[in-house]
């Protein structure tokens, strides 16, 4: 395992991987890559590699978990044993169970859950390679998987983290910055409705720093949102062009 670095931000103000404090990692998103799932998405954010798949809506199994007035969302966040430096046991850890819940609750407000009573939708998130900020990247990908499955939604959900590293507020923490740095603020929100669906904080921040971090994370989310929309449209853009010919 790599040594703890001495400086997370160098004299010129650049971070370990050469980014500026308010810069995102390079992101690549693809939609509809798993043919067996009703909807799917794949995201690469820096060194993170995450697959998300959605199944449904279908009848709930076991049946007693279904609700008479709404659809039930189920979510499983799982890290592959090879996703981290030290082999991770494939059994769901305490952390994964919690993240599954957190991700589900951040996606739920975006779905028209009341349209389909007594049904369920399953979301599976598989982290193939982790490098900090996987919950945020997972939310971004899972939301796309839901849209790809044709489930009616109020808006796509985007997530991004900000944090504090060596007394500077920075955007989109990577693994080392998350572990060595002093605070991490993951935030998920729906840009068109301007509604926050997830806000967590781990570490110590002054009220001013916290506000700065939230605003920075929101800016980051908006940047990812354009990429997210682009990825969803790419699959269908050819259709639009050919439709135009018809006019």
């Amino acid at each position: 395992m790599s040594e703890k670095p001495e400086k997370l931000i160098d004299k010129k103000g650049f971070r370990l991987d050469g980014r500026k404090p308010d810069e995102l990692r390079p992101i690549k998103i693809e939609v509809g890559i798993l043919s067996n799932a009703d909807g799917s998405a794949y995201i690469e954010q820096g060194k993170n590699k995450i697959l998300a798949a959605a199944f449904g809506p279908k009848e709930m199994h076991p049946k007693h978990l279904s609700l008479p007035d709404r659809m039930v969302l189920r979510c499983r966040y799982h890290m592959a044993p090879f996703s981290v430096q030290e082999r991770k046991s494939p059994a769901p850890s305490r952390r994964e169970v919690e993240l599954s819940k957190v991700i589900r609750e951040s996606l739920e407000p975006s779905v028209f859950v009341e349209y389909y009573p007594r049904t369920g939708v399953d979301i599976f998130i598989e982290v193939l390679q982790a490098d900090g900020g996987t919950r945020c990247a997972s939310i971004t990908a899972a939301s796309l998987a839901l849209a790809d499955a044709g489930i009616p939604m109020r808006d796509l959900v985007v997530a991004c983290a900000a944090g504090k590293v060596e007394n500077t507020v920075v955007l989109d923490l990577m693994d080392t910055e998350d572990k060595v740095g002093s605070a991490d603020v993951p935030l998920a929100f729906m840009p068109n409705l301007n509604a926050v669906t997830l806000l967590q904080m781990d570490g110590i921040l002054t009220p001013e720093e916290f506000e700065k971090a939230v605003n920075l994370a929101m800016e980051g989310c908006k940047k990812i949102y354009t990429l997210q929309k682009e990825a969803l449209k790419t699959k269908y853009i050819a259709i639009q062009q050919e439709e135009e010919v018809e006019e």
Binding site: F112, P117, A147, K229, Y236, Q240, E243, V245
Partner: protein, 235 residues
Amino acid sequence: MPTFFEKKQVVTPGELLAEGDYLAGENTYAEDNKIYASRIGLADCDNKKVNVVALRAFYFPKVGDMVIGTVLEVGFNGWTVDIKAPYTALLRASDVLSRPYKPQNDELSQVLNGGDLIVAKIASYDRAHDPQLTVGEPGLGKITRGQIMKVTPTKIPRVIGRKGSMISMIKQEAGCQIILGINGVILVTGKTPEDEELAMMAIQKIEEESHTSGLTDRITQFLKEEKAKREENKK
């Protein structure tokens, strides 16, 4: 009161479509006098009503829809049927027998058994109950011959064509009976398996190229060429 899209533009869920005096049509929703898309699809405005033609959707039961389903299980007084929807449908024994069902006289598994395919109409459906099917109309009931194929439910209108132009053309050219289930299941019955195969190839082609223009002409051409090829092979 502007709209924020061009005709047939691809929109994503949450995209603002119109503001002010507009009505929310299919696959859209209204909030604070604004209309947003709720599915990925092609936006369209029809006389103050904003619609999105969904590119990704699933079948959702509606009363009166003709569907093709698979019998899952024989129950005490009816059958459960898979209609490729979020709910399994129910078919009552008295509906099929068209008389009261007497458990001592009637053996349900001899009428319909697990795995059998049926053409049925949705008789009733609401939020609280699973859809109920009926076969009490001409043309409905157990499928005894023909071939089944599945397409995405959103593509069914394309297979029908404008005022049924596409489907009647395929029927004529391939010499087949075709029943379209709104749930995306299609039954093709012809005189020979070759005829059925021809019709299925045409429908497959429609699904793959459903978004392109001049499709009916192209499919006609395709069917004629295929038929000519087969004549050749026979000789």
